[in-house]
Structures are given as C-alpha cells and as structure tokens.
Amino acid sequence: MDLMIESLPRLLNATKLTIELTLLSLFFGIFVGVFFAILRTSKNRVFYFISYYYSYIFRGTPLLVQIFIIYFGLGQVEWIRESFLWIVLKEPYSCAILAFTLNTGAYSSEIFRSAFETINKGVVEAAKGLGLNRSHTFFKIKLPIAIRQSLPAYGNEMILMLKGTSLASTVTLLDLTGVAKHIISTTFRPVEVFIVAGSIYLIMTFIIHNFIKFLEKKYSY
C-alpha cells in the first residue's frame, strides 16, 4: 500500500508523456489516414497499390518492429544521417511519434476508406442533382457522413494507440509504462505498481470510450 501511494506522483508525472504521445500520433495519424484513404479510392493503379501495400505492411507487422526499424535501423544509413531527416531520426521522441503516426495512419486509412465506401450513392447523386460542386459535395456531404460512420471503429483505434504508446519505453522514453517498469525492477513489487499504472490506463480508456459515445450521440441522425 505504501508503495502504491509513494509511486503515484511519479506515475502521474509520466502519464503526461503518454498523453502527449497519444494525442500527437493520433493528430498526425488522421491526416496520414485520410490521405491514404483518398489514394485508395483513386482510379490510378499506382496510387491504389501504394496505399494498399502501405496499410498491408504496417498492419501485418508488430509495432515493435516498426519502432526498431525507424529508431535503430534508419540511423545506420549514411545519407540519412547527413540529411535533414536526421533532425527527426536522432531523437527517440520523434522516432516514436513517427512510428506511431505511420502505424495508426495505416489502421485509420482502412477505417476511413470503408466509411467512404458505405456512403449511399443516392446521397452523392442528390448532391449532384442539386448542383453542388465537387468540393462542396466532399466537405459538406461526404465527409460528415464518413466521420459519423467511422466513429465507433476510430474510438477503438484511439484506445489501441493509447496502449501502443507503451512501446515508447523500449526506445528509452520514460512514459507511464517505462516508469512503471523502472519502479518494478528496483522494488520487485510488480503487483502494486501494476494496479496503480493499470488503473491510470483504464481511466484514460474510459475517458476515450465516453468521449466517442458522446460524439456518436451528438452526430447521430
């Protein structure tokens, strides 16, 4: 019990980094996801294949491999170390965000793609019939429907990403899991630390879950 109270401030402090990593990756990931979802629906074969294999590779391999390739692997290439990319790739923090963004982008692109595909054709035709131009149809009709469609699946993806940020601890970052591991390995009291750190994660999942539920209600029709 003492250890639980003692470790709480340190774990809460580390939670800041976990939240930061989650929000930044999700933010960038949405753009990556929408971009590849649009490529996927394109009629150009090359764009289609790029998008298809991007999502196939990032969904078919563990996140740990992706982080290790970006953090340990890319630093080995001479021309990358000499280019501007090195500013991003030399820090574990930006490497982790890059890996998380690409990972969540792959999953989100599938979610957004299927949301766009389920839009009723009649709605798009009606928009055409009313004389709306392409960008109006996209932003005023298709996008709102697609957002509403993808909310439940995207909520799951947000929770998966929150859990995924725990892998930042494997590249020396001290996020919630990283600090929890450090406390466990110095005190050898895994159960107490697990209860505290696990509860913090569960509270965050709970918040995301209810946030999505709220949005679903707000945008239901």
Partner: protein
C-alpha cells in the same frame, strides 16, 4: 545475403528456429486464451450478476491495459509467486520461471480477453429457436451444446478468431523484452553482433508479414470449409 547463411557463418538457422519459437508461443497463448474465453464467456452470459461482473472485469482490464505492462507483471511477478509457494513447502532457494511459460501465459491472458468477446458475440447471434428446438427434442444440455450450438458458433466466430490470432501473433514480439529468443529477440542479438540493425529488423518485418499472410490464407480455407452447408 551472407548474413542469412545457414550454419555457423550466418543467421539463417537461428532466425528459422526463432520463427518456430514465435509460432509456438503464439499457438500456446491462443490455446490458453481459448480455455479462459470458454470460462469467461459463460460467466458473461450467465444469469448471475456476480459472474457477469467478474467476466466484464476480466475483459475490461486485459483489453484496456497495455500488453507490455501485463508482460512486466508476469515477468517480475511469476518467480516471486512461485518462490512464495515453494517457501510454504520449505524450499528457500531462488527459482526462475521459464520465459516461454511466462510469455505464453501473459499473452494468453490478453488473447483470452479478446476471445471472450468473440465467443460471447457468436453464441448470442445464434437463433433462439435453436436452443428451444433442442430442448423440445429432449436433448440434454451438454449434448446440445456440443452437437448443435458450438459447431454453429465456430462458423460464425471464425473470421473474428482469425483477427484474434493476428493480434496474438503480433503481441508475441513483446515477449522479447523478457529474453525469450523469438523473432524479435533473435533480430536484436543479430543486429547487435553484426551492427546491421536495418537489415535484421527489416527481415524480422518480412518474417512477420509472411506469418500473417500465411495464417490469413489458412483461415480463409477454414472458413470455406465450414460454410459449405450454407
């Protein structure tokens, strides 16, 4: 290509056996998960409120907490727990629990939480008439579960079981932090001693892609097989 040579000069054979280890851990974890899922799915479907609560607690905790944290709990906790029990029986030495066992157990418990939801959903989606008809025909509960409900349930659950298998397979990469020599750990060792992390981690990615591709094909075959009558 010399890096992947078979035998003492390259890492081909080591990585081959590491791949087998990944498959073995994933299969063991999946098996443990099914066992747990059978128990907890029945808890979630039972009429008792307490059992419902226990079932929900299990699935919420192990689907909401990062896999890595669960692995650390078992990795650091298991030898402590075993030594505690051994001390009651009068043994006072240090006992180390096998890395395969802790790995399969921790991933299995996570995998079981996902499988529980799959099983529950599949049983719930079976038409109520099926249960009623079996009762009217006078089947005993055990028999109609094994002969009527479970075969139908498996067909419905197969696509989702395939998803859980993919998740479990990818989660095994996290066991590498405990030192079990599966694909990720072997790549780490190879990358360290050859100073070529880009090659070995990329090769690990290829191995995982190969495994996920292969299992997808297998599950498609199974799905075809079990939907023959429909």
């Amino acid at each position: 290509m010399g890096l992947l040579a078979y035998g003492d000069t390259g890492w081909g054979d080591e990585l081959f056996f590491a791949t087998l280890m990944t498959i073995a851990v994933a299969a063991a974890a999946m098996f443990i998960g099914f066992f747990l899922a059978a128990i907890f799915a029945s808890f979630k479907l039972s009429k008792s409120k307490t059992l419902n609560l226990i079932g929900s607690f299990y699935t919420t905790v192990f689907r909401g907490v990062p896999e890595l944290l669960v692995i650390y709990l078992f990795f650091f906790g298991s030898s402590g727990a075993v030594m505690y029990v051994a001390r009651i029986f009068g043994y006072d030495g240090y006992i180390e629990v096998n890395a395969f066992l802790t790995g399969a157990l921790s991933i299995g418990i996570i995998s079981g939480a996902y499988s529980t939801e799959v099983f529950r959903g599949a049983i719930q989606s079976i038409n109520k008439g099926q249960f009623e008809a079996s009762q009217v025909l006078g089947f005993k509960k055990k028999i109609y579960y094994y002969k009527i409900i479970i075969p139908q349930m498996l067909r419905l659950a197969l696509p989702n079981i395939s998803n859980v298998w993919q998740i479990t397979l990818k989660d095994t990469s996290l066991i590498s932090v405990t030192g079990l020599v599966e694909i990720m750990r072997m790549s780490y060792i190879a990358a360290g001693s050859t100073r070529d992390p880009l090659f070995f981690y990329s090769f690990a990615a290829v191995l995982y892609l190969f495994l996920t591709f292969l299992s997808l094909k297998l599950f498609n075959k199974l799905e075809q097989h079990y939907s023959k009558g429909y």
